[in-house]
Amino acid sequence: MKQLTGRTCTGTAAFAISALALSACGGSEETTETDAALEEGGTITVWAWEPTLEQVAEAFEAENEGVTVDLVNVGTGDEHYTNLQNAMRAGSGLPDVAQVEYFAIPQYILGESLMDLSEFGADEYAEDTFTDGPWGSVTFGGEGIYGIPMDSGPIALFYNEDVFDEHGVEVPETWEEYEEAARQFREADDDVYITSDQGDAGQVTTMVWQAGGTPFSTEGTDVTVNLTEDEGTAQWAEYWQPFIDDELIMPVAGWTDEWYQALGDGSIASLTIGAWMPANLESAVPDGEGSWRVAPLPQWEAGDSQTAEQGGSSLAIPEGAENAELAYEFMEFAGVGDGVQERLDAGAFPATLEDLQSDDFINREYEYFGGQQINQVLSESAQNVAEGWEYLPFQGYAHSVFNDTVGQAYEGQATLEEGLSDWEDDLEAYGRDQGFDIAE
């Protein structure tokens, strides 16, 4: 495992586990299965849309003679999973490595479609290598290790300082202040909103997560969906309903052309969004250059610092991949090895603790953000992610029907509470249909 840098070995992980890792740290000549694969060389196919992997693939090839990485973008998000699912069903044409977002991991684990990486020695990263959120996602309740975390999305408050200053609105530190700020904007200017929202499942799950909610839980094939009685969920629904009723939020869906324009012209004053947002802002909202800043996420109680994750991906090996050993070497390189630096240089937000805490990363100044060292806020957020959150083993489906149910509340057809209740019914019916035991 020569590509591992020294730091992995100084962590407690090295002492906690197998002789395999110890030998690697000692730099002995002993080679493991995966090392042998690396020596031998070969070709691996990687399905991913994450742009910074291009540099990683090049660096990996440069470092290891005889290895070819065939990086293929088979689509982003849903399209990618469709292709992956089809290849898994067909049992042929599988990639050796696939990008899998954290929320999508459980359904592949249940389908027994991902390899347990423990057999390659991935348990050496069990402690103090990755932040808790991503590691918790890839280990799925500790039953195995099904992916190497690639990045993470701790959320923070991204805000347009010029707009806040112009209207004399204070940057909110609590959700109470946030609502106040929202009302101030509406009174000050008919075109300015504190944020936009048309019902986004990823956003809602993140907010519920921060509020300490755990509406979803899975144990084996027992699944609980509790959107009506979960406290965190109720807290969010009760808090957000007035934002819809009093039209405090711009009714524009995220990631649309209108949304980007509104971000650029200052009519959306802030976003509560994942740490991967800076790269998006820089590329898609050039007008916002110099205006945007990052602040900690507003809290339910003043003085708290609880946050949550939004998005983020891991790299995983599909069951039946032809060149799994070499694939694992690549994933290690990209997730904890030298590849991480390549990705950081290209603007990714890491999941590795060491990088999150490195001076170089934390003190980097971003011109787009007026020279602010935004990673200080974002790293802080990464370490304060609320514990105990779980996604459903069919979260992808859950997201796809969110707007059919909860989304209707944004059109005034129901309240958020009713919408959540409909969502729960829908998810329970689907879960039963898929053979899960649904707790009442």
């Binding site: 389908g111 869906a253 052309d257 209108e258 324009q261 509104a262 796809s400």
Partner: protein
């Protein structure tokens, strides 16, 4: 097309060829083989596979089991499916007549020979059809925007407050508008082509009899293009039932107005690709196929019968 097949069957040349085949020559089959292989592979096989798929249920827990016609029974009671079907039926009942009427007007205007620069009009009305549906929908999506789109601009400059075309109440009409824009030109070309083949002697006879233009239209032109109208209507009916591109693309702009079961096609797509319910999606697709065939066939029968009477 099936609509012309009776005429083909009546063609004496075809009958002759059939007799030659019956004489025992296998050469015909050899010539037919390339077509038959492709036909079976890309047309028949997928249908059979879809029917096969629809008889199973694949679960995340428990794998695939044979369930017979269970998926069809579920679909029969699936409110989402029937709501989607009702929606496209409403779309069909309102949008198709409007579109065909506009196409007919355009075709008659071009055919009248009184239009200055008719080839320019013909081309520009047809042009939207050449724009891929995806691009057209994206373009209209931008225009429908109440904030930064055309609707927003009109609101700002005229100080009015137009209703949001992407709101749940108006979304179907907005989609109908896009589809009409896309397909008026296409149908116009079908009608226009049919009008061009009418024998000039009929017009001369009408002129000698002193018939007005309206009478010429009512008694010569319209009856002569009835076949083309039936074809256009059948295509439009099939198109309506298959409504997918437009709602699927507008969904990102109006995620709450366009639900995952907005049209039956969109529903089948969501079922298989978001929910992994390939089997149920196959059943939904087959039910839709059968319903579309029945309605298209009914229209064709009705069209032909009237044709015979005239």
């Amino acid at each position: 097309m099936t609509v012309v097949s009776p005429a083909v069957a009546a063609d004496p040349a075809v009958r002759r060829r059939r007799r030659a085949g019956a004489a025992g020559s296998s050469t015909g089959w050899a010539f037919l083989a390339p077509f038959m292989i492709v036909f079976l592979l890309v047309f028949i096989a997928p249908i059979i596979y879809a029917i096969y798929l629809s008889l199973f249920r694949d679960q995340l827990i428990g794998g695939s089991v044979f369930v017979g016609l269970d998926n069809y029974l579920v679909a029969a009671q699936d409110g989402n499916f029937w709501a989607g079907l009702t929606r496209v039926s409403l779309f069909l009942a309102v949008q198709v007549p409007i579109m065909l009427f506009l196409s007919l007007l355009a075709a008659l205007a071009l055919d009248s020979g009184r239009l200055y620069g008719s080839s320019f009009f013909r081309l520009s009305i047809f042009l939207p059809y050449a724009v891929p549906a995806v691009v057209a929908t994206l373009m209209w999506g931008f225009m429908y925007g109440t904030r930064f789109g055309l609707v927003g601009n009109i609101n700002d400059s005229l100080g009015v407050n137009l209703p949001d075309p992407l709101s749940p109440d108006l979304i179907l009409a907005s989609i109908a508008n896009i589809v009409t824009w896309e397909f008026v030109g296409y149908n116009m070309i079908i009608f226009y082509a049919a009008l061009r083949v009418i024998s000039p002697s009929l017009y001369e006879a009408a002129a000698i009899d002193g018939a007005s233009q309206l009478r010429v239209i009512a008694h010569i032109k319209l009856p002569a293009i009835r076949g083309a109208m039936v074809v256009a209507a059948i295509f439009s009916i099939i198109g309506s039932f298959q409504l997918f591109n437009e709602p699927s693309i507008l969904q990102t702009l109006a995620p709450n107005a366009i639900t995952s079961s907005f049209t039956p096609n969109l529903y089948a797509y969501s079922l298989s690709f978001s929910g992994g319910q390939y089997n149920y999606a196959a059943a939904v697709a087959i039910i839709m196929g059968v319903i579309t065939m029945i309605i298209a066939y009914a229209v064709q029968l009705r069209g032909i019968r009237k044709d015979g009477q005239s």
